[in-house]
Subunit: 366 residues, 2 copies
């Protein structure tokens, strides 16, 4: 009980510290933005609301890993240690801005106006522009806002990394990490869009690579490597953490796909057939394509007007042909590889952070 | 003659140095990109072709100003001076990457596939995807490439600034300048789109502010301030240069609008009525709106199907109502303000760089 309480209190304190840092980063820019008129200021106000309403998954992972990597006698005392921890919070917050920049450009690319049941920045701009704009141009105006705000958040992320109060060599190492992350995420986004647009062939290997690049790199590898670099951990530890993070990230992504198709929509809150209607190329679909069931599924796949009856029919086929079990097997493989990494050079304190995160995978409904 | 030859040779040497730096920046990333598959590598290959085919207006302005600000006994000898000049070339090249990032996102926002008579990156991706993609999705794929490549160039710009071999304080000053530039350019782009989409009212003041933000800041103010900061010039000199640059930038932008509407299409190579067909809110149009001629012009403005006869009719009206002369007057005002700045604290050597640039304004046909 004591451990749990202290753990929860620790996370609440971290959330507050991250929120304060993000409020500062965004608030400063939101104030300056008012000089450029109400429409420009509105971008920062909306971005601020959305970023500060997030769950801070990535910054929390960075900070919990950072704290766990500290040797007990180092924790939070000397001036150097205090300054370094403040810098870690700045980098953690910058990673949340990066996440939001990616989300915004992804929403522009996908034409999405809603995220988790609420209007996203584009949806808000669209609703507000509705009455003032020329016929048919409100969506253009709103999506332009999404592109431009994404650009400014990408810039703000780099500014935080570039100004970090760190020895020059360490700052360069974090800048390398940021560059690597952006390249992989962009490559993953491009693969995802290419699969959807039919430009890239939907084989399983490509889909798994896409999932790793698009999400696992910036959600798991970046915070873990960042924490290791900031804490001065050995490169061996950093690599082991990154590898563990990639396996865990892929497992989460594969589970997302399973939940979207086979999960309980009352729990996850999404349209249960949206992946099928969009023709989303997932590992489930890649496996189904290799079975005899595909000829029956294909006619329904990617049809925006798919009925509930047809959707349930396809879902049954996807389960019966073994695609559901196949992806469950892939998740187990990733979790096995993740667990194997934990027994290597990763310190016990950090292992608990990762096991805690992995625990969220089990019994996940949304 | 001697002066001209040495001047031309100086510019050729600078072009080569800037081109080498850009080749290095892009080449390194283009090689690394091949690890992520042919589609990702194609983005870097196309961006490289387009960036290296540019005229380097902004980097040349930075370097010519930087060189002109050097005291004669400092020029290119000591190790410190040589290193600083190399850094200046790196920053100059990074500004060209920023320019191209802005162009790409602007092309996505405007739906443009062509720039200066050649397919832009999006147009090239569209042509290449044509046969492979799902029906109707090739443009989506191509525009996604434009968004993502713009993101990577924006990131690359920041990486160059963040890693610049400079004292920490000076690097921070350049990072401030980059942030200021991106904010103003984004604010200008948003105003431009808001004017086009009818979300923002097209009064003259808004249009002039938009022109300054969208183009003058990053094309003139950024290279001039950057050169001053890198050369260790007084803040008074930096401010005078920036002010001069903003006036010159606005004059160029206003002249662009005049050329597009009243210029000789055989010289400038653009559709002579494209601004009218698009309904582009320029200073010309803002003035015409205040005259009695507007009721006759309005019916034709923003009509994509505008005929050549109608276009010529509108053009005559715009001239007769005084809009052409009004904008010529605005340009003269800006040039007067520019010339006034030159007589302040700007050193004579730098004055020549600016006068040379201003000279390109006169007799400009394209």
């Amino acid at each position: 009980m004591t451990i749990t309480s202290s753990h929860v209190r620790g996370r609440t304190d971290l959330c507050t510290a991250i929120e304060d840092e993000l409020s500062g980063l965004i608030g400063k820019r939101a104030s300056a933005a008012t000089a450029y008129g109400p429409d420009f200021a509105r971008l920062w106000a909306l971005a601020g609301q959305n970023v500060l309403g997030g769950k801070f998954v990535r910054p929390l992972l960075l900070m919990e890993t950072y704290d766990a990597l500290q040797k007990p006698h180092h924790q939070g005392h000397g001036t150097t240690e205090t300054r370094r921890r403040e810098t870690a919070i700045t980098i953690a917050a910058a990673i949340e801005l990066l996440h939001y920049a990616f989300l915004l450009h992804d929403d522009v690319i996908d034409g999405d106006l809603v995220r988790r049941g609420h209007p996203n920045l584009i949806g808000s701009l669209l609703a507000e522009a509705g009455e003032n704009s020329r016929a048919g141009s409100a969506l253009h105006w709103a999506q332009t806002g999404g592109i431009l705000m994404g650009d400014m958040l990408l810039a703000a992320t780099h500014q935080s990394f570039a100004r970090a109060d760190l020895p020059h060599e360490l700052r360069l190492r974090l800048l390398d990490l940021l560059e690597h992350t952006i390249n992989e995420t962009v490559a993953g986004e491009q693969l995802d869009v290419g699969l959807g647009d039919g430009v890239i062939a939907p084989d399983l290997q490509t889909i798994l690579v896409m999932c790793g690049y698009k999400t696992a790199t910036y959600t798991f590898e970046l915070p873990l490597r960042g924490a290791a670099a900031l804490a001065g951990a050995d490169f061996g530890v950093e690599n082991a953490l990154a590898t563990a993070g990639r396996h865990l990230g892929l497992a989460f992504q594969l589970q997302d796909d399973l939940l979207s198709t086979f999960g309980d929509p009352r729990r996850h809150g999404k349209d249960p057939f949206s992946d099928l209607r969009e023709g989303k190329e997932t590992a489930i679909i890649a496996h189904a394509r290799t079975t005899n069931a595909w000829q029956d599924i294909e006619a329904f796949f990617g049809r925006p007007e798919l009925s509930v009856d047809d959707g349930e029919h396809v879902r049954r086929h996807l389960s019966d042909c073994g695609a559901e079990a196949f992806v469950q097997g892939l998740i187990e493989e990733q979790m096995q590889a993740f667990n194997n990494q934990l027994t290597t050079t990763i310190p016990a304190s950090v292992r608990n952070v990762l096991l805690d995160l992995a625990g969220q995978l089990e019994g996940r409904q949304s």
